[in-house]
């Protein structure tokens, strides 16, 4: 419905529609402000140019009334924009329950994508139309920013943590994927495409990728290879370590009395910074794995831990 507006980017997701409306309202208001200022300026410049003979008597001296009027008027208008913008922002950044989850790793200078089924792609992301897709994003080096102009969604991908972003495409087709945070030499070419497909096509595409193992299965292997199962495994008796079954999405009580939701970023922290916090009731013996696991491996482990069950709400 926005395609007739000139110089307008594609509108291909529910997110984009919501942002469009706000943007149009703001363009309207900005136009109004500009027109008011220009009209006032022009009128005064013409009526009161040196050569004009209009009366200059009775200059307004009580300026306070006007100042207060303007302050209130602009503040009122600004508050409306603020509330509207903030509402949409919260909505944009709090993902609803996801239909599909995809893992994205940014690195100089490419986007690596891993689907839960184990399908991988580079600088491309295939997704089904009309489905809520949730992205879990990591960076291997510097800060990147994941931006899809046609969806109006963007989030920086900061090394050292995981970020999430969601969208629901409403149009099939190919859309630009960009990096909008300067990330070094080839930042300009760190681009790719989002391929939005009908559900059956998407299923076919997934099948045709020829993968043997899902992400969680690959994670299970890592879980054994790195010795996690020795402590966290079902029949591990040597060490008193928490079971990870059903952990994802629950509220975890820490030794220092604080609580955290066991989302992806938490799981990542557990593996890389176990020294900085301890789960209540357990000895602080979990080894530090930083430096041993790349972002890709971490995401696999996390996918595995998630596959052990848990509450869906972690998606929010």
């Amino acid at each position: 419905m926005y395609h007739w507006i000139p110089f307008w980017p594609d509108t291909a997701a529910v997110n984009a529609v919501v942002v469009n409306n706000l943007y149009i309202a703001e363009l309207g208001l900005s136009g109004l402000i500009m027109v008011t200022v220009v009209a006032m300026m022009l009128t005064f410049c013409i009526r009161y140019r040196k050569a004009a003979s209009n009366s200059r008597a009775d200059l307004e001296t009580k300026t306070w009334r006007f100042e207060i009027l303007w302050t209130v008027a602009t503040l009122g208008a600004f508050l409306i924009l603020f509330v509207w913008g903030a509402q949409v922002y919260i909505w944009l950044y709090k993902p609803p329950p996801a239909d599909e989850e995809v893992y994205v790793v940014g690195k100089q200078w490419m986007w690596k994508v891993e689907h839960p089924g184990g399908q991988r792609e580079i600088d491309a992301l295939h997704v089904p139309v009309n489905k809520v897709v949730r992205l879990v994003m990591a960076s291997e080096d510097v800060i990147h920013s994941f931006f899809v102009p046609a969806f109006r969604i963007k989030h920086d991908v900061v090394p050292g943590t995981l970020e999430t972003l969601w969208f629901k495409a409403t149009k099939t087709g190919i859309f630009r994927l960009e990096c909008t945070q300067y990330c070094g030499l080839q930042h300009a070419t760190m681009q790719g495409e989002i391929v939005v497909m009908e559900a059956p096509d998407y299923a076919n595409w997934l099948d045709s990728q020829g993968v043997e193992e899902s992400l969680a299965q690959q994670g299970a292997e890592l879980f054994r290879a790195h010795g996690c199962s020795g402590c966290h495994g079902k029949n591990s008796t040597i060490i008193h370590a928490p079971s990870l079954t059903g952990l994802y999405g629950t509220v975890v009580h820490l030794q220092d009395g604080s609580i955290r939701v066991a989302d992806e970023a938490y799981l990542r922290d557990c593996i890389l910074n176990p020294r900085s916090f301890t789960v209540a009731g357990y000895p602080p013996v979990m080894p530090d794995f930083s430096g041993q696991l790349g972002e890709g491996d971490l995401l696999k482990l996390i996918a595995y831990i998630k596959s052990l069950g848990g509450k869906r709400e972690a998606g929010r």
Partner: protein, 554 residues
């Protein structure tokens, strides 16, 4: 115009004493001068040089973007936009108006003989040039490749350009800012002439005061931040690099804690200039003087509480984003008040359209457009979509280049006769003013469109379908280049050829116009006594009263 006659202007007797320009002529008398007027000219030479260095980088950028394939190697392009940003921000925009017109006119406008600490003033110029040498070293050796924002961990671990030298240039430069700011604050507090109360200060002086407070408080944070950057880059202590336990966002918080106020460091003095020019050429008092002073100080204070609006998509907590958005809308209110006050200050005036006025009116329009697009960026959800794109580039160039540089040129023309004792060629100046306005809009308006379409900033290449907008922008930039170079020519010519200016060629009210043009070294023959506020213009009878209380017909 500029042939105004003053029937009852008391003649300021041509004194036997020479002006500040002719008093001494040796090179040493310039390099070791403690006269604020000479130091202002020294600064003027330095920043003009850097303006054209930064402008040269901009020319390369726009040349490269005229075609999607580009001309420059990616690494060269990246280094050019980095150096363009660093040089324009710290070596032109931040010092621009304060160190030149502030230096020259604050003492004259408050009726003082000099700044409070003349030696510190001179030292500030030397420190500035030292930092300038360091930045030139960085540029010549191969330049930094991080963007002017030095985001970590790119700048500390991954970038391989001359990041350390560039950061040190910024670090040293800060000391010059701090010295100049301190000097202004003390001067404005202590050296006002008898009768020059706070509510009689010209708005330009208020603006310099506000900006000095911001400079003095914000700059140390930048110094710490660049210092920490150097520590991580050299010693590898994990401050920002997450692989060593650092926090990449810490850099951004500290950087923007300085650099958002820095935006206001760049615009507040410009606001002050425009508040001088508009009443003089509209021949009426500024509308809402008290409101203007309050707005200036409100902006200065609020500017410290909005830094995280540069980080809405960077992974700060959602609710922090909401709070910073609200605060950002608050800081927009005083700016809106100022725009309305300038506009209404034309009502019932007796307006002439000399070059300074054209620049000032252009300032108001460009500032307003920059302002409304700022509102869009303050709106969280819209920022999510345009952050990091050309929309942001366009927005801040409207404020920092469109508005500030227009005000700079406005000030230059307005005070030229006072500084040099010569008038300037009015027609050429008007032509340059209009050309600036046209060239500027042609350069930067298309970038709003590009931004919303999704063109990321800091890209040396782009898809072919966006070429048309980029070509428009590059064409505008070449017009702008002419508009910025022109004054150099005709003002240079005017020093030797134009008619001599008398003390008050624009029939203005401020104290700086009560002393000969150019002023003697000690500024005033006798200390002025101030008896009224700054803008006593009477458009009904076309009269004005100077701040000392002498009435004049125009």
């Amino acid at each position: 115009m500029s042939t105004t006659t003053f029937d009852d202007t008391p003649r300021i007797e041509p004194t036997a004493r020479p002006s500040y320009l002719t008093e001494e002529n040796t090179v040493a008398s310039w390099l070791f001068t403690r006269d604020h007027k000479r130091i202002a000219l020294l600064f003027f030479a330095s920043i003009t040089f850097f303006f054209f260095v930064g402008g040269g980088a901009a020319a390369l950028i726009r040349m490269n973007l005229a075609t999607p394939e580009g001309l420059l190697q990616p690494s060269l392009y990246n280094r050019m936009f980095t150096m363009h940003g660093i040089i324009m921000v710290w070596f032109f925009l931040i010092p621009s108006i304060p160190t030149t017109f502030g230096n020259f006119f604050v003492p004259l406008m408050i009726g003082a003989r000099d700044l409070a600490f003349p030696r510190v003033n001179l030292l500030s110029w030397y420190v500035f040039n030292l930092s300038g040498l360091v930045v030139l070293y960085a540029l010549i050796m191969g330049a930094a490749d991080t963007g002017w924002t030095f985001y970590t961990p790119l700048s500390t671990v991954y970038a391989n350009g001359y990041v350390f030298a560039a950061a040190m240039a910024v670090f040293i430069n800060g000391f010059s800012s701090i010295m100049t700011a301190l000097n202004f604050i003390v001067t404005i507090h202590r050296l006002r002439a008898p009768g020059m109360t706070w509510m009689r200060l010209p708005l330009f002086v208020w603006a310099i005061y506000a900006v000095s407070v911001v400079m003095l408080t914000a700059t140390p944070v930048l110094a710490m931040d660049t210092f920490l950057l150097a520590v991580e880059r050299f010693i590898g202590i994990g401050l920002f690099d997450p692989r060593h336990g650092g926090d990449p966002l810490l850099w951004q918080h500290m950087f923007w804690f300085y650099s958002h106020p820095a935006v206001y460091i760049m615009i507040l003095p410009a606001m002050g200039v425009v508040s001088e020019i508009i009443p003089c050429y509209a021949r009426r008092p500024i509308f809402g003087y008290a409101g203007m002073t309050i707005a200036l100080m409100a902006i200065a204070i609020l500017s410290f509480f909005v830094w995280a609006h540069h980080m809405f998509v960077a992974g700060i907590s959602i609710y922090a984003g909401v709070a910073f958005s609200l605060l950002t809308f608050f800081v927009a209110v005083p700016s809106a008040i100022k725009v309305f006050n300038w506009t209404v200050s034309l009502h019932k005036g007796r307006i002439t359209f000399d070059a300074p006025m054209l620049y000032a009116l252009g300032f108001v329009l460009l500032f307003t457009l920059g302002g409304v697009t700022g509102l869009m960026l303050a709106t969280l959800a819209v920022d999510v979509s345009v952050h990091g794109t050309y929309f942001v580039i366009a927005h801040f160039h409207y404020i920092m280049v469109g508005a500030t540089v227009s005000a700079f040129f406005g000030a230059l023309h307005y005070w030229w006769p006072k500084m040099t004792g010569r008038l300037y060629p009015e027609m050429w100046a008007r032509f340059a003013a209009i050309l600036t306005y046209v060239g500027f809009n042609l350069t930067f308006f298309p970038q709003f469109v590009l931004g919303y379409l999704g063109m990321p900033r800091r890209s040396y290449t782009y898809p072919a379908e966006w070429q048309i907008w980029n070509v428009l922008s590059s064409a505008g930039a070449s017009i702008l280049a002419v508009a910025y170079l022109l004054p150099l020519l005709y003002l240079g010519w005017s020093i030797f050829r134009e008619r001599k200016a008398d003390a008050n060629p624009w029939a203005a009210t401020g104290l700086e116009w009560t002393t000969p043009s150019p002023p003697p070294t000690h500024n005033f023959e006798r200390t002025p006594r101030v008896s009224r506020g700054p803008y006593n213009y009477d458009p009904e009878n076309d009269r004005f009263i100077t701040q000392e209380g002498t009435p004049h017909a125009r």
